[in-house]
């Protein structure tokens, strides 16, 4: 077990190192002179040189990379060009709303996906199954940047039940969480269905039935427990989709999280902030996946080998 944990930690660390390098290179992908792009063509040469120096872009690439890692290790991600505030401070403000949104969306996804998937599996090849899976197919096919405005149109504008945008009380979380959670719910319900169907053929299910247990107990106690293991792994992987989707969803609802900060910073050409946002979101994804792997390894000894 310690070897398993250690190897997972090590490989996550390696990936994080690579991710940081790629993020570092991002600013060098700006066509032409990044300083000119950030300040605009009308900027004074002295201002340009000052910014170039402040960003360290006047140094050799290797020195820049070392400085960058030095900063990362000291939780120093530089200063926002726009607000002149330390980027770590901006991130500290923006991470909680995004975490809140992601958690709520995950909740929405599970609440929709579990009953839908179980229903489809238990009533396989029935109208319920077709209905549930058609809903799921539709859910996968609706882009969140279309679903969001539609939900606003119905629930905020027409019915007036929920706020249009912003983050003010639990009510304001409902529509963003629905928008973000729908696609995940669709994917998960298909996973729950196929995973449950697979388990239903196992010997222990036959044994449970032979013992005279009710179908309800067989499914909820015996089948579902084992069927959910692969679903948990998929959940970890799908978190990337969730975090990526959060960027767009936050934009639609003016949700003051990391996603909104990313897009705003792209629009303002505040590239250091863009880099920091991409780094933090990706790092969160890597860490959650590592934790999923570890939990999976704890639950299922077969994975460790």
């Amino acid at each position: 077990m310690p070897t398993f944990i250690l190897s997972r930690l090590l490989s996550a660390l390696l990936v994080l190192l690579g991710v940081s390098c790629l993020v570092f290179l991002l600013i060098h992908l700006v066509p032409g002179d990044p300083v000119e792009v950030m300040l605009g063509e009308a900027a004074q040469p002295a201002d340009r040189e000052a910014l170039r120096h402040a960003l360290g872009l006047d140094q050799p690439l290797l020195v820049q990379l070392l400085n960058y890692f030095h900063g990362l290790l000291h939780f120093d991600l530089g200063t926002s060009l726009q607000s002149q505030r330390p980027i770590t401070e901006l991130l500290a403000e923006r991470i909680p709303p995004t975490a809140e949104l992601a958690a709520a969306a995950l909740g929405v996804a599970l609440v929709i996906a579990l009953p839908l998937g179980i229903l489809a599996a238990v009533r396989k090849d029935s109208v319920w199954d077709y209905g549930a899976m058609s809903v799921s197919l539709l859910g996968i096919s609706i882009p969140n940047f279309w679903l969001g405005p539609l939900l606003i149109l119905v629930f905020s504008v027409s019915l007036g039940w929920l706020p249009v945008s912003g983050r003010d009380g639990p009510g304001s979380l409902v529509l963003p969480a629905l928008t973000l959670g729908t696609a995940l719910a669709a994917i998960l319900s298909r996973m729950v269905r196929s995973s449950l169907l697979e388990v239903m053929h196992e010997d222990y299910i036959r044994t449970a039935r032979a013992k005279g247990l009710s179908e309800r107990v067989v499914i909820l106690r015996h089948a579902l427990r084992n069927a959910l293991l692969p679903v948990v792994t998929v959940l970890g992987l799908q978190l990337g989709v969730l975090l990526g989707g959060a960027v767009v969803t936050e934009m639609i609802f003016s949700w003051p999280g990391l996603g909104e900060l990313t897009i705003e910073s792209i629009q303002r050409r505040d590239y250091p902030v863009v880099q920091a946002c991409v780094l933090v979101i990706s790092a969160a994804y890597v860490i959650v996946n590592m934790l999923t792997d570890l939990v999976y390894g704890l639950l299922d000894p077969r994975v460790r080998s």
Binding site: S11, R193, S194, L197, G240, G244
Partner: protein
Amino acid sequence: MTEQRFFGKPLVALPAAILAAWALCAAVGPSLVGDPNHIELQRILTGPGAAGWLGFDDLGRPVWERLVVGARISFLVAALVVSISVLIGTLIGAVSGYLGGWIDEVLVRIIDIFLAFPGILLAIALAGVLGPGINNVIIALVVVGWVGFARLARAQVLSLRHREHVQAAIALGVRRGRIVLRHLLPLIVAPLIVEGTFAVAGAVIAEAGLSFLGLGVQPPTASWGSMIRDGTRYMLMAPHLVLAPGVALMLVVLGVNMLGDRLRDRLDVRG
């Protein structure tokens, strides 16, 4: 497998019809319809009617014509992104899986690093840094897209390289490149086609998403994503501006996904 049986059942005609219409719009549509950027001020925000069956937008431009041009953009981007991603990804994955050793180690690490980014986030950041425009959208989506194919091709090649016909080819002294191209690739085409189909759906949504964020095709050229974005400002007065491109987008993605399910069923590839 049960999932496959289920998704094999729905009409094949529906996705086929949607995708044919999409391809047709992309290929010849723009030359058949009127000018999508023609402005008629007296028709601003007019709903569907005799003058234009999908109505007019906030500048008085015809929505149907813009939808057709948007179809070309989304088709073009999806086709290019997926074909380039398949080529690059399969090549890297197959080489990695076949050669093994330190080359495989390095390539797997690189694949892992790219997989560590939430796909759309990396695409947004790349498109944002590279600057708006269709070329940069394609570059950004390929950078994100090749990884899935590389991982798939590598896994497939790894499971096939010890097959007898490959061993026989090696024993006969067939060159490595030829073994990969002639003896391994044909066997992994089926899963690649299935993955590629779903990748088309992903690329269509991603292109529209980037355009929605203002990072894609620039005005006045129409894209479904930017049409949705512009339409949201007038949602109350003219809901057709959001509904028309949204329905088009959803139908295409739905059609591609249904086709993917169907292909997975037919080609017997496990999802």
